[in-house]
Amino acid sequence: MKIKTSKRRTVTPVHPPGPLWQLRLYVAGQTPKSMMALQNLKTFCKTHLKGHYRIRVIDLLVQPQLAKGDQILAIPTVVRLLPKPVRSIIGNLSDTASVLVGLDLRAAN
């Protein structure tokens, strides 16, 4: 089942998603790493999601209690809340290929 869908996605790498994508970016203060992650995420979404997305940035220094809910360990972390299932990517998102894999837009290799 899973293999089937991912195969199809490999055929059409840029797959415009049906429903709205909800993304959360967790940061802890405005560190260079976090800033870069936000920058990279925005660029990525513009390229691949074409307006079907919403990004919410959460600063854990301001709202530390939110870290537990999404099981945040690493900073920065991007969590895809929708579409299901929940996926998460950690790092400054400098590697676009792995972001694609992480967001289920392309199967690993």
Partner: protein, 585 residues
């Protein structure tokens, strides 16, 4: 509690320590884990790492008013709560009262995609948030190594771990970090590299099908600590580490003596029985009456109104009660009055440590004056040699500290080298009674003797003891040319001696008569001699009188004739000497 705290404060000048509240662990470490520093607890699966860490937090929150954060990487909050509920820890309640904060960190490699650089600030934020919410002083990270499984970039991870431990120290958190035991090193991922103040190693070994847990303080920077491996167990109120060597010999001793319930035996022990609080060993081969003597002792104590705890490892309580009834010991009423309690268990039920812990618990709950362990040998056999002796030492120390008189029965195998087989144990005992079988004359008879009794005068004689309908009675054993005589031989010897006494009594009477007769004869002789003497003396007196009168007559005759011859007065005066000369001639 207060005393304990004072003690910890005194040692705080050296290196501040944080009491764990875990039984025995604080004793080994001299006050607890280093305060404000991380402690590494490592061990294989099922060693009790998580439990030790949990107890550290729970005791901290309940006894020392130090709230704690539990960051779990392997078990969820509800799993943890359920797991420790069996030990009587109500985690949910402590969480409600904000004494403990549980934070389950879920990490799953397949759910995380890495892209570019990152750090673990999220973990720091979470931990910090938890610490600040409840004002925590203690932190547990269980098991941090899960991070290695969840994240690819080990370089980042190691860097972040180093930062984490630094950060914990800076925050002044007393932390316990658990880790899996590695094959070549202490932990699988080399966490000891970061946590170097205190390392505790847990171990779970199976020996002769019986599993025992051990704890060892591998390292404790800047503090003295017990370096030995200490057995520990997980009972229903948490972990208890049982240090063997930390016990000092400084028990209070008593001069009070307690009777054994066998009057003649008391007499053998300087007339007053054993010292209170002493440990007594009762050895003997099968069927020599060890349990009977022990039960007698127990009954005597119970009748004095003392509480007796009877540990039996071979017979069920009912069996002992029935058997003792047959020799006139009534244990039932003592049980009903709450003065006697039995605790029966098969030695193979669980390991030696568990037995010891159960016994400690029973003793602590019942607070007995006298403890009987019947027999100690079958218990020791369930452990390996050194373990057994260690256990007896701890048991005796525990009992002595509580001023409890203890009676251990010990079964010796075969009939040679009785002393040798108990070599290891007997040196720990204050008094040692030996029960023995004597075979001969077609019967077996029981004897007992006091092999040693520290600090009291005791009989060195072998005595026979009889078990009858009305208890135990000690009688003198005859020691004849062919050895000790017991049973019917003793009775025969008794008859023989009686006959001999009668014969000698008759002899004496005869001799007496003879002597009397001789005396009469002698007296008669004496009176004869005296009569002879008296008649001779009478004769002598008569002769002397005759001589006297004759000389007077002679003198007067001469004077008369002188007058007649007209001699002078002088001549008359010289007459007596002449007559003297005459008599001489």
């Amino acid at each position: 509690m207060k005393i304990q705290r004072a003690k910890f404060n005194a040692s705080a000048r050296l290196l501040p320590k944080c009491p764990t509240g875990i039984q025995g662990l604080d004793e080994i470490t001299g006050g607890g884990v280093p305060r404000g520093r991380p402690t590494l607890v490592c061990g294989g699966a099922g060693c009790g790492k998580t439990l030790l860490a949990t107890e550290f937090l729970v005791r901290g929150a309940m006894q020392f008013d130090e709230p704690g954060v539990f960051m779990a990487f392997e078990e969820t909050e509800s799993e943890l709560t359920a797991n420790v509920a069996s030990l009587g820890f109500d985690l949910a309640d402590l969480v409600r009262r904000k004494k403990i904060m549980l934070d389950y960190v879920h990490i799953e490699r397949s759910e995380i995609q890495e892209s570019g650089e990152y750090d673990l600030e999220g973990l720091f934020v979470r931990l910090n948030h938890a610490i600040e919410t409840i004002g925590a002083k203690r932190v547990v990270l269980d098991t941090l190594e899960a991070l290695f499984g969840g994240l690819h970039n080990e370089a980042i991870l190691r860097n972040e771990l180093r930062r984490l431990f630094r950060w914990l120290k800076d925050k002044g958190m007393t932390a316990v970090i658990t880790a899996e035991r590695g094959r070549e090193q202490l932990t699988r991922r080399g966490l000891e590299e970061y946590v170097s103040d205190c390392v505790i190693l847990l171990d779970h070994r199976v020996n002769d099908q019986i599993a025992t847990r051990h704890l060892r303080v591998v390292k404790y920077r800047g503090a003295l600590h017990g370096t030995n491996e200490f057995p520990f167990l997980i009972g229903n109120d948490g972990i208890s580490v049982l240090p063997i060597t930390s016990l000092a010999l400084n028990h209070v001793v008593s001069n009070e003596r307690i009777a054994t319930g066998i009057p003649r035996l008391d007499k053998m022990l300087g007339g007053r029985g054993f010292f209170r609080g002493s440990s007594i060993l009762l050895t003997g081969t099968a069927g020599t009456g060890k349990t009977s003597v022990a039960a007698n002792f127990a009954q005597a104590a119970g009748r004095r109104g003392e509480r007796v705890l009877f540990f039996s490892f071979e017979e069920s309580p009912n069996q002992i009660i029935r058997n003792m009834q047959s020799i006139g010991l009534k244990l039932d009423p003592l049980i009903k009055r709450g003065l006697l309690r039995f605790h029966s268990a098969r030695p193979s039920l669980y390991g030696l440590e568990m037995h010891l812990a159960t016994m400690f618990k029973e003793i602590a709950a019942f607070k007995p004056h006298v403890v009987v362990i019947d027999p100690i040998t079958s218990l020791i056999e369930s452990g390996s040699g050194s373990e057994g002796k260690g256990m007896v030492t701890r048991l005796i120390d525990y009992l002595k500290a509580g001023h409890i008189t203890s009676l251990f029965t010990s079964l010796t195998q075969g009939d040679h080298a009785l002393q040798q087989s108990e070599g290891g144990m007997s040196s720990l005992m204050d008094a040692w009674l030996l029960l023995q079988d004597f075979e001969g004359n077609g019967e077996r008879n029981r004897v007992l003797y006091v092999l040693k009794a520290r600090g009291m005068k005791h009989s060195n004689q072998i005595r026979e003891f009889l078990i009858s309908d009305h208890g135990i009675d000690v009688v003198d054993a005859y020691i004849g040319a062919s050895g000790v005589l017991t049973g019917s031989a003793r009775a025969a010897q008794g008859a023989l001696e009686k006959a001999a006494t009668l014969a000698s009594q008759q002899d004496a009477a005869q001799l007496k008569r003879e002597v009397a007769r001789k005396r009469i004869a002698l007296e008669r002789q004496i009176s004869d001699l005296r009569a002879d003497y008296e008649s001779e003396a009478l004769e002598l007196r008569r002769i002397a009188e005759q001589v006297g009168t004759r000389s007077i007559v002679l003198g007067t005759e001469r004077a008369a004739s002188g007058i007649l011859r007209q001699a002078d007065a002088n001549a008359a005066a010289s007459v007596p000497p002449r007559s003297k000369l005459l008599r001489k001639a």
